[in-house]
Symmetry: C2
Subunit: 430 residues, 2 copies
């Protein structure tokens, strides 16, 4: 495994002095993070996860994954936000976006409870018909609306199909270690439980049972994370932000990275987007999106910088073959693998965007395998936490997420919200 970081294509936009100016702030943030003296320090348990985790639970996760593989055609993973994105991102990056069409010895994995769409729910229900399936429900409290609704539906289906006891062997609950409605239900019904740790927030939880059970069920090896590069990245992104580059575009040339981009958007957006501050996180898959967002990146408002996740080698490759007639004029590429073409597209694009006024930070890793991806996840988690401290926000809370929920509960008529309901309905009717 190797990892490298390049700030070469930032140089026209930031001097070394402007980057070094953040050194003391970053050192202080590093200390606050590791000595647990900063804002939100109760939620920094993820720092030690690569070396310090519950070995017994880890063995149970691998064992449960084997049972799911043995008795299920489908695994329905129920969760939202941090209880959804990490697992899906890793499975698609390491396996494939087309995992469900390609999987042979491992169950198809569908994610539910991450929207309020009756269409999406009915479709998943129909996909379970005539199939053997299991459920992994992931929720700290058990009361988050979206997953709670989905769990009602699939739990009932399991009980009707397999009986109470049969269903109990197919329901895997990842929740609080001792309290909450889901923990209570699991203990009463005999469902196997895994722990959402108290000291790890949702968006930092992919390397806990939250992410690891679905990942292991997909047949991914979960056994196996350069501070220096991480902190240079932090200095650069903060310096660019202060210079008006308020949007960070995460870009990768591998379509299977699509959901990792979504994971990055949650990690950074929820950690930094508060107190009227923060880089707006957005993403692209190249070369696909060079044919859609490429024009804007090249010549639009100069409010962007890119963080490119560059892979040295692909998971699979394809050699371009010579053709006698050469009607498409591609014979100059004959004998070359697609990874060669992609590498040149990457180099050409970095230069073009840099020339167009878009700073490019480049993170290079060998490939999207388990070890490299685990490292990358930890790199970004650490960079995000330290960045938050440098920005002067608490990178571990998300107070703004409650605003829409409070309104929604009131409008839904949830008991206890009667007064708010009236006020909101009055506003809506004006």
């Amino acid at each position: 495994m190797s990892f490298s970081f390049s700030k070469k294509y930032v140089s026209a936009f930031l001097t070394d002095e402007e980057i070094f100016a953040y050194r003391e702030q970053i050192r202080a943030a590093h200390r606050a993070l590791h000595e647990k003296t900063g804002a939100g320090s109760d939620y920094t348990g993820w720092i030690d996860l690569p070396v310090n985790y519950d070995k017994a639970e880890f063995a149970r996760i691998k064992d449960a994954a084997k049972r799911i593989q043995a008795h299920s055609d489908l695994l329905i993973v129920i969760g939202i936000g941090g209880s959804y994105l990490g697992a899906r991102a890793v499975i698609e990056a390491v396996k494939s976006q087309n995992y469900n069409a390609l999987c042979k010895d491992t169950p198809a994995i569908y994610f539910s409870g991450n929207s309020i769409s009756g269409t999406a729910l009915r479709e998943l229900v129909s996909l379970c018909e005539g199939k053997d399936f299991s459920v992994n429900v992931i929720s700290k409290s058990g009361t988050t609306t979206e997953p709670a609704i989905a769990f009602r539906v699939f739990r009932k289906m399991l009980i009707e199909k397999y009986g109470k006891e049969g269903a109990a062997a197919r329901i895997f609950v990842t929740t609080d270690k001792q309290k909450g409605t889901l923990k209570h239900l699991a203990d009463t019904e005999g469902y196997e439980t895994f722990v959402v740790p108290d000291n790890v927030g949702g968006r930092y939880s992919v390397l806990t049972a939250v992410g690891l059970l679905p990942i292991a069920a997909a047949g991914i090896d979960i056994d196996d994370p350069a501070e220096n590069a991480c902190y240079r990245y932090v200095a650069i992104r903060n310096a660019l932000y202060r210079k008006g580059k308020k949007t960070e575009l995460f870009a990768c040339y591998e379509p299977n990275f699509t959901m990792m981009n979504e994971w990055l958007k949650q990690l950074f957006g929820e950690s930094e987007g508060k107190d009227g501050k923060g880089l707006f996180p957005t993403s692209a898959i190249f070369s696909t999106d060079l044919h859609s967002l490429g024009q804007y990146i090249q010549q639009g408002e100069r409010i962007l910088f890119e963080t490119v996740i560059h892979l040295r080698a692909p998971q699979l490759d394809y050699e371009i073959q010579a053709e006698e007639d050469n009607v498409d004029g591609l014979n100059f590429l004959a004998g070359k693998p697609l990874s060669f073409v992609s590498e040149k597209a990457f180099q050409g694009t970095v230069l073009a965007h840099y020339d167009g006024g878009v700073p490019n930070v480049i993170l290079t890793l060998d490939r999207l395998d388990e070890a490299n991806l685990g490292y990358l996840i930890y790199f970004f988690e650490k960079a995000c936490a330290v960045s938050g401290y440098v920005l002067g926000v608490n990178p571990f809370d998300q107070p703004g997420v409650e605003s829409y929920k409070r309104n929604m509960f009131a409008l839904l008529g949830k008991p206890g919200y009667e007064k708010e309901k009236e006020a909101l309905e009055h506003r809506l009717s004006m």
Copy 2:
């Protein structure tokens, strides 16, 4: 079919005077567009598409779709940018994101040639093994790198499997009406061809053969556009842009709208993002992304406004059932469909984000069926063209897309780029 537009949740950010200030500019833009006197007027053929199109070709499209349905388990659609996003967006919105897992009487549809990933290409090749498949290759010139590579691969596979003549019955070419390598090849080999019109650019082409053949192959009815609302939307988005809201976030509560969001990002990003100007287009699916980007939207930098595509009714719905034990506390929702919960989430979120300082433009349509989606596509195309004129850019060109391509061709060693190659390689090695 009905469609409505609300600027109620923009009112705290813009006065009526600020909106009306754009009236004359919009009138002039409207005239320039319809009288074909504005920049890029050679590419405004899409304006008349809802009423004025080639009826004979339209019948051939429906006939080809029937043949594909009859003899193919899979249809591989090869194209990138506007030759990819529109068809995929419509199929997922009208049918499903899980169309390939759910389809029964119609072929699975996979999109290829939209990246340079050997992994993605190999996966698709393996999905064709043992299956009957057809190819619809979509490229005006036939020389765009990504689709040209993919077409080489799948054409060869078809010839090896079905012979030259058998392959000819399974290759459908959407290209220039008379010139180019792909048109030449199709005529030589006897492939059926459909036309990419000269006067319609890629991102405006979904209602031409470019989008319609794959859409019809998926079993979607293609037989079947309120200027006033459109132009009010234009006025508001331009006024917000001038007040520093430089990012437009398209949001919808239906997961099947995900690729329509991608289509919108290309349409607006490529049309407006030039000359250092333009709203940066980004997107979200709610409630999913309220659990990832929601925090940033609620409390981050106040550089955003939202354009919410609000659906009155879902395609499918699911009624929440009462449960005796009510462990999850959801019984107050018993008897209510998910669409009710989603509607309250929408209302609660609009109010929360508006209170948080994010203007919300709301476009309401009945449902995601063929007629409504067709209308919505045309609404956005028109809004985009007029917006571009108001912004003072040519909404029909995309000069910036060539920058990375030139670099890439040089670095790949394409004949004729020798000098650039040397210069670029020198820069990369510094």
